[in-house]
Symmetry: C2
Subunit: 491 residues, 2 copies
């Protein structure tokens, strides 16, 4: 494990630099050699593995099976459902050749003779290639529903990148389903948004607003897109996961038909839904502070770090014996790390683990041992208490639970505190400028939405499910509106 | 789950077609739309998930951490360590453009203006890009060893493809490590081959020969390559996993140096090692029979299928009640599948699950219920016995263990029976023609190895670890030889 001594900018001074500093100080990731790419380092990847393992179990519990589809998609597939390409998929990496060779200078060059007849696209998302398979798999109503999930890398060329939040290649899961009826597809899309909502709440301690995307903001191939939007500490929104009701768009493009019970041919109704490594960016920005990363215990790869304080005297042996005993008592397996490195000062160790956001740090030296106790320092509040070793397992369990709850609460309170209900254009602009979530009436017109975006930088994050119908006037156009929608600047 | 009614060719009639038929009948995979690619269907992917989960735990137990490195590698990296490219990596997919656009006919085309300055290569393996990172991570002896593993997709263009065995894109894990000393790297390479060896033996019930590759057959960037070679039922070898001692080749190419304890700069010593979805091809070809797939219980996604036999009478309710009770008793969770579909005959169901290689099939109808029993059919031997429900959990446990052991034994016996020790060229040719493993003396000359390959199609699979030094004469050249090596035709 490498030792970093970099300083972390404060959120107040430079929020954007603070985010990069937290990632570097915690050793989560670094830029790759190709612009827009990222190396996910072991500690960052361990967070992703935890996310995968929990979310994967939830995806399976809801009846989905994992499969794997090819990375490379024939360009012609993009012509079949071109509307979804309009949205984002044009920024795609294109494979044109399939061989390298040595030139006469002994260098490795692309072999011009190995040119592909049809260019291949690295998947920006897999709707086209998966639906190509679905068209072969589905014949009868008995084959439905088809409930598939894939864990994969995808690529969308990005010019302005930021680790986790926006990288060309990223990792995600993408669910793809096909159903016999429209209502089933709608229920599936809503159900999976619920899975995401519960997951980020219960494990990532992130409070989000769930709702429907506006027509302009939805996935271009979808009928409806549902989203959960989290608030970062700077008041900006982060789209944390989306779920699409695709209607019959892809079914018609890829001719996915089934014989229904009356022996009539019908197009299937479909959904897709995904959560990506982007969520790690949201996790970092939701909880971390000016001392570095803060991780909710339910997702932290290391929940407790135990630091023996040795002084070169005879008591060291007793301290190390007790360290071993504590390890046995706590039964935390890989979630407990003992830092007994002999080349680092205590101060450096405290600092390292603080920056890594480990929820609990235990300190044990001769002084503590004499009292049969250990010092327990908590990452979020930075409180330090002396705990009797007999009570340690229980105190740790309670502290981890409490920390998880407190981080959840803090995230929710931050969101509520910084969400403003506004009723006129001046207040709207002020609220957006001060980087807040804004609930305001909107006429429902895409043109108005575009003007608001142009003038303030704010987009409609969603039409929140929890906003009741109420008569109002569009904050921009003054036209009639039935519901407040959520505006914010976004990552 | 779709119902396939395809016939399976016999191994004797057409081994190659048999392999494809088994895959189709078990619904494991199918060809993708791009030549050389494969869709891994849910049942096939479930096998890969089991392999991943077990192997991942073993990789972590031996101290490695997972991380993730970019898919796309700058072409210039391949010039740094060109020797490893010579081996295989020339058959690479090359990305030259990063955008699509609509042309004036409304079609999606590659945007000629979005041409990359430097072409990017889809990783055929990640030595170059990972060692680029290592050169930044490693400074001092305290940073060593670095023990990294990655689960990823890689791509090597293939013209002649076969599902699992040889596909352009495949999934694998690739371990990459850096050490302070040569001996540590050597020990690591050997240790990880041991991990693979134990894994295929204990879970996949595959008997393999472990050994060292000849200079011609080793990974082109390596000092030594170690391998485990399995024998398929047609007598051909399948390289099941490899582990490379890379020496300092990549360290020098990527300038990975550390300050040792004497404060002197040293290049690190490295290894890499991998197992891929190819092993599923080996698993299929080791155990399956003319009725379809046979899966060792320790890797089977579904260990037991329970088929209620209903006849539309009042007793059906009792049968279904007992099915529920058996489910509770067995506690097999997802490893138990109940097939209560009402549109398939019993014969069709038996056939489906047989072709899927599920180790145990249980049949329960009114007749069995009356006796408090259930019929247990075993996939490998096809034996059927009547088991009292009170003993069922124990009998299933024992049967699964026995089946695992028997498949192991069968694999080992097949290998031993079909391995021939030969001492002259005529016998050698005959043995290779009859598709056997051959242990023969070899002069150690690459030219002889090449001639043998040209004349018989056989390659040196490895210099087996278990072959003692003995003086002999090369079966081809008559020159002195110190050890018998393993020759075979290979996949």
């Amino acid at each position: 494990m490498s030792v970093k001594n970099n300083k972390i900018s404060t959120r107040k001074d430079d929020y954007s630099q603070w985010y990069l500093d937290v990632i570097e100080a915690a050793d989560l990731a670094e830029y790759g050699p190709v612009k827009g790419t990222m190396v996910i380092k072991p500690y960052g990847y361990a967070i992703w593995e935890n996310i995968q393992s929990i979310l994967n179990a939830k995806i399976k519990e809801t009846g989905h099976k994992n499969a794997y589809f090819p990375l490379l998609i024939p360009k012609s597939f993009f012509n079949k459902e071109a509307s979804h390409v309009d949205g984002f998929a044009k920024e795609c990496a294109v494979v044109t050749h399939y061989r390298l060779k040595n030139n006469n200078k002994g260098e490795i060059v692309v072999d011009p003779e190995a040119k592909l007849e049809e260019e291949l696209i690295i998947r920006p998302t897999s709707e086209t290639i998966i639906n190509h398979s679905f068209s072969q798999w589905i014949n009868s109503w008995r084959d439905l529903p088809v409930l598939i999930n894939q864990w994969a890398n995808v690529l969308r060329w990005e010019m302005r990148t930021r680790p986790f939040l926006r990288t060309s290649e990223f990792l995600w899961q993408e669910g793809h389903t096909a159903h016999a009826t429209e209502i089933e597809a709608e229920q599936e899309a809503e159900k999976m948004l619920g899975v995401y909502n519960d997951f980020v709440r219960d494990y990532l301690a992130m409070s989000v607003v769930a709702g429907k995307k506006s027509e302009s903001e939805k996935f271009a191939g979808a009928k409806h897109t549902y989203t959960i939007e989290a608030m970062m500490q700077d008041g900006k929104a982060l789209q944390s996961a989306t779920s699409h009701n695709l209607g019959q768009n892809f079914a018609k493009a890829f001719d996915i038909q089934f014989l229904d019970k009356e022996n009539k041919k019908q197009y299937v109704w479909q959904t897709s839904w995904g959560m990506s490594t982007r969520i790690i960016g949201g996790l970092i920005m939701t909880h971390s502070d000016d001392s570095g990363l803060v991780l909710p215990p339910n997702i932290a790869p290391i929940k407790v770090v135990l630091i023996p304080i040795l002084n070169g005297s005879d008591t060291d042996q007793n301290v190390l014996k007790m360290v071993k005993k504590i390890k046995d008592i706590l039964k935390l397996k890989d979630h407990l790390e003992v830092d007994d490195r002999d080349n680092l000062s205590m101060g450096m160790k405290f600092n390292i683990w603080e920056k890594k956001g480990v929820p609990i740090r235990l300190e044990l030296g001769a002084k503590e041992l004499e009292k049969g106790s250990v010092v327990l320092a908590r990452r979020d509040t930075k409180d330090k208490i002396l705990v009797n070793i007999d009570n340690l397992a229980k105190v740790i369990k309670d502290t981890l639970e409490d920390m998880q709850n407190e981080l959840s609460k803090k995230s929710e309170q931050n969101r509520i505190k910084n969400t403003k209900i506004v009723n006129n254009w001046e207040d709207f602009k002020k609220a957006i400028e001060s980087e807040k979530f804004v609930l305001a009436h909107w006429s429902g017109e895409a043109s108005v939405e575009a003007k608001i975006k142009k003038e303030t930088g704010a987009t409609i994050r969603c039409l929140p499910f929890d906003q009741k119908k109420e008569n109002g006037k569009c904050v921009y156009s003054g036209k009639a509106s039935e519901q407040r929608v959520l505006f914010a600047k976004a990552y």
